[in-house]
């Protein structure tokens, strides 16, 4: 059975893994996101797999079975480790070959399906790990709506700084404290100073927030001193995930000048474990953010016709909250917001191109995050700081609770998906964390 790239995106294509064909599945055969899993209770090393319905296909086992063509086998050999870094390093040609091969193996009617089924692991028996060893993590700030909202709270007279529309603003984040979805979140302690306090004090953050972001992983890197035009940057993006950039707003406010956020963010960052490939998202490409007529045009190294026409991704992102009381009362999580990644002022490729423009070497497995995805509507705001306007407009929850910021026991779940007429739905799985109490100071 031959199988080419166009077929892997055919919305009619179905899998013999029946759960993949169910309506609303995050992981149909058109998705095939990569992740790293460990069998629950097993001492085996963590392994690379792709999600298909409610199953995970163990790529190394497929390779061992000789089920892959030589081009795909080379890519699959890069999956013989406990991270996606080596696969990311190979580049687009290999990614395409492996994707086509896996799609072929999983397609309804494939004659090898009995052998392939032996390489399936139910998701319920797997614990997802970090998808990559992240060397460096960079967090951008690329929603004009978010930057304007937050800026107007912190600098009412000067909400949007003069550089904003010229540069994809970003800063280096902390890579060691990035954890996969489901890992517990500990409320951080830190130094804060209330407006009316004479001196700062040290204790648990009182203004804990989430930030709904979209992350993307770098594939083949550049040498130190080299750079990428925006078209080349696009080719280097392996795939996308969801990122919760947990933020302690009281720590942030006191520490962030003049060098930016530090301990307000570095206590933890949560990512969804499945990396949805750039290829799977191809049907959802949309034009880059439409700038106002009087907005500056991007400088030439950050611009291309392709980027203008297809640099955006039409991807819905949602945040859901369930408090401890809601769990006890069996009340389902409440959706707090729904935004869209296409509303970012800069595209992912522009962020990557900007990052490498000074010669900074990006490496396979490096993670970038977009910054909070907020849209123009109030219910498209991607953090509580914006949703409750710094706590002045509390959110009412079912059961009578209110939230200005997060309370201990709160579970924050982020979801993302791409949907449109004539294309299979692509889901991102979950990015989830429950806030636990701070340690004793």
């Amino acid at each position: 059975m031959t199988h080419d790239l166009n077929e892997t995106q055919d919305p009619e294509l179905r899998s013999w893994v029946e759960s993949a064909n169910e309506e609303g599945s995050d992981f149909p055969i058109q998705n095939l996101p990569y992740g790293v899993f460990r069998l629950r209770g097993s001492s085996q090393r963590a392994r690379v797999g792709v999600a298909i319905g409610d199953q995970i296909l163990d790529i190394d086992r497929c390779r061992e079975q000789g089920a892959l063509s030589s081009a795909a086998a080379e890519a699959a050999a890069a999956c013989r480790q406990s991270s996606l870094n080596a696969l990311m390093a190979l580049g687009k040609e290999h990614w395409t070959a492996l994707r086509a091969a896996l799609s072929g193996l999983l397609a309804a009617g494939d004659h090898r399906h009995k052998a392939t089924a032996a390489a399936l692991v139910p998701m319920s028996e797997a614990e997802m790990q970090m998808p990559a060893q992240i060397g460096d993590y960079t967090d951008f700030y690329c929603s004009l709506h978010h930057a304007t909202n937050v800026g107007s709270m912190f600098r009412p007279d000067n909400p949007l700084l003069p550089n904003y529309k010229h540069i994809p603003i970003g800063y280096h984040g902390r890579s060691s404290s990035i954890v996969p979805s489901g890992a517990p979140v500990r409320r951080p302690l830190g130094q804060t100073k209330a407006d009316d306090a004479e001196a700062p004090s040290f204790g648990p953050s009182k203004l804990l927030d989430y930030e709904m972001e979209v992350g993307f992983f770098i594939g083949p890197g550049n040498d130190l001193g080299e750079a990428w035009a925006v078209e080349e940057a696009e080719e280097r993006i392996f795939g996308f995930c969801l990122v919760n950039d947990w933020s302690a707003r009281d720590i942030q406010k006191w520490e962030y000048q003049p060098l930016g956020p530090f301990l307000a963010k570095s206590f933890q960052t949560t990512v969804s474990p499945w990396v949805v490939t750039a290829e799977a998202l191809a049907p959802f490409r949309v034009p880059a953010f439409e700038r106002d007529e009087d907005d500056p045009q991007p400088l030439p190294h950050l611009e291309s016709g392709d980027n203008r026409a297809h640099g955006g991704i039409d991807m819905t992102v949602e945040v859901h909250l369930q408090t401890e009381k809601m769990r006890e009362d069996d009340v389902e999580a409440q959706r707090l917001s729904r935004g869209n990644f296409r509303d970012m002022y800069w595209t992912a490729a522009q962020m990557v191109s900007h990052h490498a423009s000074n010669g900074c070497n990006l490496q396979p497995g490096d993670l970038m995050a977009s910054g909070t995805v907020s849209g123009p509507e109030k219910d498209a705001r991607g953090c509580l700081l914006e949703l409750t306007w710094r706590g002045s407009e509390p959110i009412e929850l079912p059961g009578g609770e209110v939230r200005r910021f997060l309370a201990d026991g709160d579970e924050v779940t982020m979801r993302g998906s791409c949907e449109r007429e004539g294309a299979a739905r692509i889901g991102f799985g979950e990015c989830r964390g429950v806030v636990g109490p701070a340690r004793e100071p």
Copy 2:
């Protein structure tokens, strides 16, 4: 021959490696800094060694020869890789055992010296590598003099922000672009906007600068969510090096608000390759920075009697410049500044303790840098931005050249040393780089 810690710091102790005993040597037997080297022209893996005079002792070869006691052999076994990370992870007890054993092997009169000599490699035949695989790099901003000088240039009405005397201000840096001394430096390109320009433009930085900093490597890490009091933080510091935090001031000025420096710094950072251990620096401990009477006291988790009494290190740091023309004319490098690490407002242990205070997990091999080491005197300013007061007071060089910022061909060499009556001189070697032209845009 027994050999204990006190002996390793005895200033009278001499080595049978004669070059270690020469006056002014950076690497007497009391120093024994660790580094990673590769034999020039060899395909062998890079190896861990200690510097002794003009030689490097290959630790794995000593271990193979059975020359080490069991406690030291365990630490030496951690040196069987191409980085110091595993040794750093072991902790103080092992560091002490290995140091004592190596000091014993290298001490004048040691009966094993013929066998040990076979494990020596001349420095002239070695190429120094990065000492550690740096997971995360954090750059602080802990010189009150530097912060006040720079602040008064960027914010004349508000030079020192209200948080400065309460928090060791820091930010996440880029780890991928950290290179060892000697690696070429490429002038970065970037987006800048002149004050009188209507719009920004993209091109080579015109205001390239160095920053003279002191770096320190983390030993055993903390778990996510845990923290260290300042005394414990002190125990976790493996050792120190020199850091040149190359900075493009024009890129920095345009990009740094609101999230801090990003591409102005991430194009490259240079470190000296020899890590001088905390133990070797013990004789040079001095009280922490003496605060003014009306300065706030550090919050309790950042303070201890020991830190007040011994948190500082009396370490001289110097910056030397040699232009291309000076090299051609055989004019030796000119010293631009001489500062002292004891002039930092916060101690290294306070920076580490602050970093972990929110539960951020620090890991073996993580690098922290102090921020520019500037003192109260003009010739103790650790970067050109301060020395030339933003270019308004150019430096005159021998031969008639002047410098406001760095020109292509300029070689910047940093050196550090600890000296006092009754103690052997401890040197840091060099942190060196030559600025090359920017790539074609």
